[in-house]
Amino acid sequence: MIRSLLAWLDDRTGYAGFLHEALYERVPGGARWRYVWGSTLVFTFSVQMITGFFLWSAYSPSANTAWESVYYIENEMIFGSLVRGLHHFTAQLMIVLMAVHLVQVIIDGAYKAPREINFWLGLVLMQIVLGLSLTGYLLPWDQKGYYATQVSTKIMGNAPLIGQQAQELIQGGPKYGHHTLTRFFALHAGLLPISLIAFLGLHLYVFRRHGLTVKDPKHAPETTFWPEQVLKDGVACLAVLLLVLGLAVWKGAELSAPANPSENYAAARPEWYFLFLFRFLKFEFVEHFGLAFGSIYVPGALMGVVAAMPLLGRWAVGHKFNVAFTWTLTICIGGLTLMAFYEDGRDEDHQAAILEAHRDAERIKELASGPNRIPVSGAVTLLREDPFTQGPRLFAKHCKGCHRYDGHDGRGRLVYAGTPDGGQVRAAAEAADLGQFGSPAWMKSVVVDYSNHFSALKNSGWFKNADGQDVLDPDESEMADWSGDAESLGSEENTQNVAALVTFLVAQAGHNTRDGKVIEHDTAAVDRGRKLAVEGDWAGAINGTSCADCHASIGESFAEIGDDDADGYPNLSGYGSAAWLKSFLSNPAAGQHYGEKNQMPAYAKRMTSTEMDLLVRWLTGDYAETKVEPYAAQRMPPVLR
């Protein structure tokens, strides 16, 4: 029944002859593993078509939905991470397989007559695949893709004659925006795959016309494509699939933070297979000749040589030249790639930037999956308005000159100063390390170890060159004296009292933990601490001395004290709280704060109120809870140590 149906179908279409032709291609010398590369490329392309279609069904190309839809695919849709992972890693593997295929074709002399045309068709296919990977890299609209693609389009803009126009055309305008994505997407899912299919068809057709390039037909008896070679091809494709599946499942395609044109992305690098070009452009002699030289003329010339290989091959030593050229190029590309990896691995700033990029990626995932989802303005606003993300950046920008945060600049980078002989040394902090600000440790240290707590001030230029001027001196003040009475404060009777006072101070500052959780305080201890602060019923010699003796409003929540009412002692009402901190940052030299002794710049006009708000909220732990690891001071690589 089925047979007669198929016979009928064959009679009408002749498909059987076609299939026979496709399946029983001659394989002289027997099926071999060395013939699998082309088939794996066809396979990877099929995987890209399939997974690409499905991703297409969930992707939304616009500047404020692209990242969001990819986030949704990756984190919320069933199998989304798998399908995207397959697409992501197959794309990379395709580049590798393509390189292997090309090198093999050259070494085997498969470009020679009568296969020149097919060689050139292959080169066209290679350009299309590179085009696909370049356009695909931008589509998630994350920081990584955004900044890497910026470089590609800038290079395009540097092309002679029509560079500028070409760049604007592909970008859909002078800058990146909605139309950059719609255009890249139209290329990536439309023109390029269609061209690929067309050229692949031609490539296969011409390939079949001339047959395999067989080096030793006596290797084994001749066989046919089906099933001998198909089995080997199938096993190779299975290996490819398993590799890609493994990567997709265990590693997963990266999605960095949403593209943010106002936020530098120091970790920007092209996809790894373009690293050699990236590294090549960094050579001084290359830079010397200008961007177009290194990024357009040199790669163009190299591609030109490759394209000319069938012609060069006619020359007596032509094939030897081609092979030597290919090996040299391969070694150079490999060498440059390794060099780029090696240098990045030892580059402290780059490593810190990568860590920060991962951190942002983790954080935005937390925020986007929160109860309020993603606002219509896009996920980038979630990060822009997140104190946990922005606080460290603001700290690094404004505070690290004197302060540290757990020993680093807020973003995990160590702070260096130049030495006279041109080297680098760790710069000493010139003000308190704010990593513990408002915590029990901080409060206790202020109370019982004041001089040490603020001793970093003594590293500062203004302190060293004070010349008798009245400056803040952590060793010489009434507070230093009171806190320096270790005997009384450290006595057994006062241990409980100190603990209670610290609890009160911490409660008054009202910070959350560093991962944003609200801290509950023991109200009895808080009340006891407040009483100590205001009335001073200590044990021993300090009995009767209270914080309020000097800091009159310490028991209350923060209230501004005008310059006219300031009494020369710091206003510690609501000490450490967001309100206190904002007042202090705005003008530390106010009478209610450090007055004339102050050396810290006033930040009211140095940052916007939004920025100050973000910084203060970060320092007080006022942000959505997080599981993201805090920044840790970067270990210095051996070169710098």
Binding site: R3, T51, F53, E68, L231
Partner: protein
């Protein structure tokens, strides 16, 4: 011998195979022809290729290539021994002489089954992953539709009653319907739109001061039901469904009455409505 049996069983089962020895003797048959024969019984994936070849190869255009193939295949089978030692050992023990034609056929058959199944696996993995991904809306359910949030900017209670921006006394007392917009937080995939219009309802106040509410979505095929003042009824401009003011259907077009919505009792002047959507085109009222 046990290895031999299944194949031996298969052999008489299919007619073309019986021809095989003769044609093979004449060195006319392709190895593909014979080797593929057992497949229709056991492996579905490669079924098509098999049948094709069986039917076609005698008259296929490339027949010129085929005569040598039998010899090649035999030698090839030897080569394959290296690839699959288990099999080859067994077989060479049984038939220490030169491999029989059946033996060759079986080896080719194994190759075909392997090639076919590996091909199927590598093809199916991406396709199936993609299909499951595509079925996301069915598998995960309506997670992307409106989310019931209590509190926030929208006044909504735990049962999903939403406070409407109208009061009882503002509704016409003569029973004229009034269309009122319903606002709620709308979750659409990755976005959340706080407090946006999500639809509207028809409200009517009866003489006994009862307020009733109807969805404005036509139970027929989902167009918006309008109020027709001249006839004092509801009708749908798309397919002319008509309803009386009590929501009951007034012509045979709609499959059911208008979808009434629950109004929360005992709220005084305030009107709280449980806004829901129902499937269209069927006579039962089934919530979406």
């Amino acid at each position: 011998m046990s290895d031999e049996l299944p194949h031996a069983d298969e052999t008489p089962g299919s007619d073309p195979l019986e021809e095989t020895p003769e044609s093979a003797a004449a060195e006319e048959s392709s190895p593909a022809l014979r080797s593929e024969e057992p497949q229709p019984d056991s492996v579905e994936d490669v079924d098509v290729d098999v049948d094709v070849d069986v039917n076609v190869s005698p008259g296929a255009p490339d027949e010129s290539d085929e005569p040598d193939e039998l010899v090649d295949a035999a030698e090839e089978a030897d080569e394959e021994d290296a690839d699959s030692p288990e099999e080859s050992e067994e077989e060479s023990e049984e038939e220490s002489e030169e491999p029989s034609e059946e033996d060759v056929a079986r080896r080719a058959f194994v190759t075909q089954v392997l090639a076919g199944s590996i091909g199927a696996v590598v093809g199916l993995v991406p396709v199936l992953s993609g299909l499951i991904f595509f079925l996301d809306p069915l598998i995960r359910g309506g997670r992307s539709s409106g989310d019931a949030t209590v509190g926030g900017s929208v006044q909504k209670d735990a049962e999903g009653f939403i406070k409407l921006p109208v009061t009882r006394s503002l509704l016409p007392s003569d029973g004229t319907p009034q269309q009122v917009t319903v606002e709620d937080d709308l979750v659409d995939a990755w976005n959340k739109f706080p407090n946006v219009p999500i639809g509207s309802v028809w409200l009517l106040r009866s003489e006994s001061d009862e307020v009733s509410a109807y969805s404005t979505i036509c139970p027929h095929l989902g167009c918006a039901v309008e109020y027709r003042g001249a006839r004092s009824d509801f009708y749908c401009p798309c397919h002319l469904s008509a309803f009386k003011l009590d929501g009951s259907k007034d012509n045979p077009i709609p499959p059911r009455d208008m979808d009434s919505l629950a109004v929360k009792p005992g709220m005084g002047e305030e009107i709280w409505v449980q806004y829901k959507s129902f499937r269209g085109g069927i006579s039962e009222k089934v919530e979406v």
